[in-house]
């Protein structure tokens, strides 16, 4: 009687272990009969519907390749990847950004795609050259561009109407932005005119460029945060908080600015086209080109799909990457209004998909855009930016002191 119980208990324990372990063995046996199960890692939950549709289409073409998706929030994405790369456990296909591609390519954890593309006659001319360049390391292409993004000035029409102010347009400059932010700020109703986010893309990078400054010097040996143009741009940005026109840094950490904006507590803010699926739900919202400083400038960046070096299904992964970069996939992205597809000629379809928003603002931005800087230690520099600039944003230290510390640390990182 007792023995029976023991055997049962043992079976349960071992059975559970076996159950959990069986996924591995299945994957390897699949490979033998041409079937493959591959994983696709990315971070933006807003793109899930579009991605699911693309995978469905992909499976019509390749019914034997099963694609499993893995979403990790952006805040943890690269940290997870690094851990996974250490253990040779990266998803087979994954999203990559410009800040990390050099490090991953040099660390040999992602595969160069040039040879495979050549073999399959896969043309890389279908994408903007700046994006292909972004993902080229030592002459080899590592990623197939999936989309690109610039920045726009999002605004809440209702707040403008209530205050009797006309909407932003391409005549706006820094002074106008400040002036309107003052007009729209309404302490009683708890409305701020502008949200001065502490972010580089679509934030202080854009302002620094607009003011004639630079982030990383031409020779890639130093950063430009301590130059007068950059200091002035940062000060302009922070002045919105100082003058009470923007929620404070503390407030924006406790309640996300994008949520304050979509619920009518913030009148204007910079943000990218990736917010389209979210903001198009609210008819009060629209977007315009960003105001100009000494000149027009806006950051451009695009994501790409890359293949992990540890993949056991290289062919299947390459097929998926090709498909994700195809016109069919771009059309789905365009149709759902999710992101600006990178495939040349599909951008207009994206713009038309959401007619009530002025999406042309983002496409226009591409004309005077500056690529997001990408060096081997971009990730580390970004970390320093967050750690140090947040103190300037919360007015704990002066902008001058902050940029001094930041420049020193970032320059050291560049030397590594």
């Amino acid at each position: 009687m007792m023995k029976k119980w023991l055997i049962m208990l043992l079976t349960v324990v071992l059975g559970l272990l076996g159950l959990a372990g069986c996924s591995d063995s299945k994957a390897s046996s699949d490979a033998k009969d041409g079937k493959a199960e591959i994983t696709y890692g990315f971070w933006d939950k807003k793109q899930v519907p579009a991605i699911e549709e693309i995978i469905k289409l992909f499976n019509e073409k390749y019914p034997n390749i099963k694609v499993k998706t893995e979403i990790t929030p952006y805040g943890q994405y690269f940290q997870k990847l690094e851990t996974a790369a250490t253990g040779g456990a990266l998803p087979d296909v994954l999203w990559m950004n410009g800040a990390h591609v050099v490090q991953y390519a040099e660390g040999k954890v992602i595969l160069p795609l040039s040879d495979m593309a050549k073999k399959d006659n896969y043309s890389l001319d279908n994408y903007p050259k700046s994006l292909i360049d972004l993902y080229t390391v030592d002459g080899k292409v590592y990623g197939i561009p999936k989309d690109y993004d610039t920045t726009g000035l999002w605004y809440n029409k209702k707040i403008f109407d209530d205050a009797g102010v006309s909407y932003p347009d391409d005549t706006w400059d820094w002074n106008k932005l400040k002036e309107v932010a003052k007009q729209l700020t309404n302490k009683e109703k708890g409305i701020w005119g502008y949200a001065a986010l502490m972010g580089n893309q679509g934030g202080y990078y854009d302002f620094i460029w607009q003011n004639g400054g630079h982030i990383i010097s031409e020779d890639g040996k130093s950063v430009g945060f301590d130059q007068p143009e950059a200091i002035e741009a940062l000060k302009y940005n922070i002045s919105f908080i100082k003058e009470g026109l923007s929620p404070t840094q503390a407030q924006m950490t406790e309640t996300a600015a994008s949520e304050l904006f979509s619920s009518g507590k913030v009148a204007m803010m910079f943000d990218g086209p990736w917010m389209v699926p979210e903001y198009m739900k609210n008819p009060d919202l629209n977007v315009a080109v960003v105001p100009k400083g000494k000149k027009r400038a806006v950051a451009i960046h695009g994501l790409s799909n890359v293949i992990a070096a540890n993949t056991k299904h290289k062919d299947a992964a390459w097929k998926l990457v090709q498909f994700l970069g195809s016109k069919e996939a771009a059309d789905i992205y365009a149709k759902t209004g999710t992101v600006i597809p990178a495939y040349n000629g599909t951008q207009d379809a994206w713009k038309d998909a959401v007619p009530n928003l002025n999406l042309q603002a983002f496409i226009d931005g591409a004309e005077y855009s500056v690529p997001l800087p990408s060096v081997k230690n971009t990730g580390e520099i970004w970390q320093y930016e967050t750690d140090i600039l947040k103190k300037a944003w919360s007015e704990e230290v002066s902008v001058e002191d902050a940029v001094k510390e930041l420049t020193k640390k970032a320059n050291e990182a560049l030397k590594k």
Partner: protein, 277 residues
């Protein structure tokens, strides 16, 4: 006489007053969690706050289920909790019996060795354990969370205390009947150590269900994520959209809450036992 009674009632009143005050502090966060989980986002950031939502937004729960495989998380957490608890109860009691009731060479040294683990903060094990999981190719699997958790120095120590407190005569009689040690352990000792087993079981269940750091390190794919990690990733995606976050939180604590309501007595007694009665 009248005075004493008055004194007694005012004393009882004071006790109740303090206890109720504390109870409100204990329950209010939970109440606010449930109320917020049923609000629209606009209601949640309304000033002054909306206490009772106008229309109950059950859709928030639907959204949590829609974007994260919450049932899958629950299932994973359940499997991990059951496997760890069953594993610990069996393995720890087995070792504890041997340490408590059998004399063998090296017993004290081995026991001290096991105990030394208790003195070391968990972070010391973390990196090497992680490297082991990498080598075994176990990242993003349930067994990565389960296996290190079925061995416990604490459990062995706790149950050894129990076995040591049992009278010697019991096993002497059994031995005369020709029982071997395993049979004695299984038939005689285990049933007698039931309070200890329940205590360890509850302790392990609570710990497994709620643990954050280890599952977060080894499991990042939604397929094998636990509820705790799922909640942290929900926060990563929804930033400060509290109606959704509160709906997720409530879903994550609900199973343990139900278990607790059913097994209240065992929970509280079990914890008292682990406190070294």
């Amino acid at each position: 006489m009248e005075r004493t009674r008055q004194l007694v009632t005012s004393k009882t009143f004071l006790i109740h007053f303090i206890l109720i005050l504390g109870s409100v502090a204990m329950v209010l966060p939970f109440l606010w969690m449930i109320l917020t989980s049923l609000k629209t986002y606009t209601e949640s950031i309304h000033v002054p706050p909306v206490i009772i939502p106008k229309d109950l937004q059950w859709g928030n729960y639907k959204e949590v289920f829609g974007l994260l495989p919450f049932f899958k998380f629950m299932f994973n957490t359940f499997i991990i909790t059951v496997a760890r608890t069953a594993g610990q109860l069996f393995l720890c009691s087995l070792a504890a019996y041997a340490f408590a009731r059998i004399e063998f060479p090296g017993r004290n040294i081995l026991f001290m060795l096991a105990l030394s683990v208790l003195m070391v903060p968990g972070q010391v094990f973390l990196l090497p354990q992680y490297m082991i999981m990498v080598k075994l190719g176990w990242l993003n699997t349930l067994q990565a969370v389960i296996v290190p958790g079925i061995f416990s120095a604490f459990g062995t120590f706790l149950l050894r205390q129990f076995f040591m407190g049992l009278p010697k005569e019991l096993e002497e009689a059994a031995r005369l009947d020709g029982c071997n040690h395993f049979q004695i352990y299984w038939r005689i000792m285990l049933p007698l150590a039931k309070p200890g087993l329940i205590a360890l079981g509850i302790f392990t269940t609570l710990w497994s269900w709620n643990e954050l750091m280890w599952p977060m390190i080894v499991n990042s794919s939604p397929e094998s994520m636990t509820l705790s990690v799922g909640l942290s990733s929900l926060q990563g995606q929804y930033l400060t959209n509290y109606p959704i976050l509160m709906a997720g939180s409530f879903l994550a604590i609900l199973p343990m809450l139900i278990l607790f309501i059913i097994l209240q007595k065992q929970f509280i007694e079990g914890i008292a036992v682990t406190g070294g009665k």
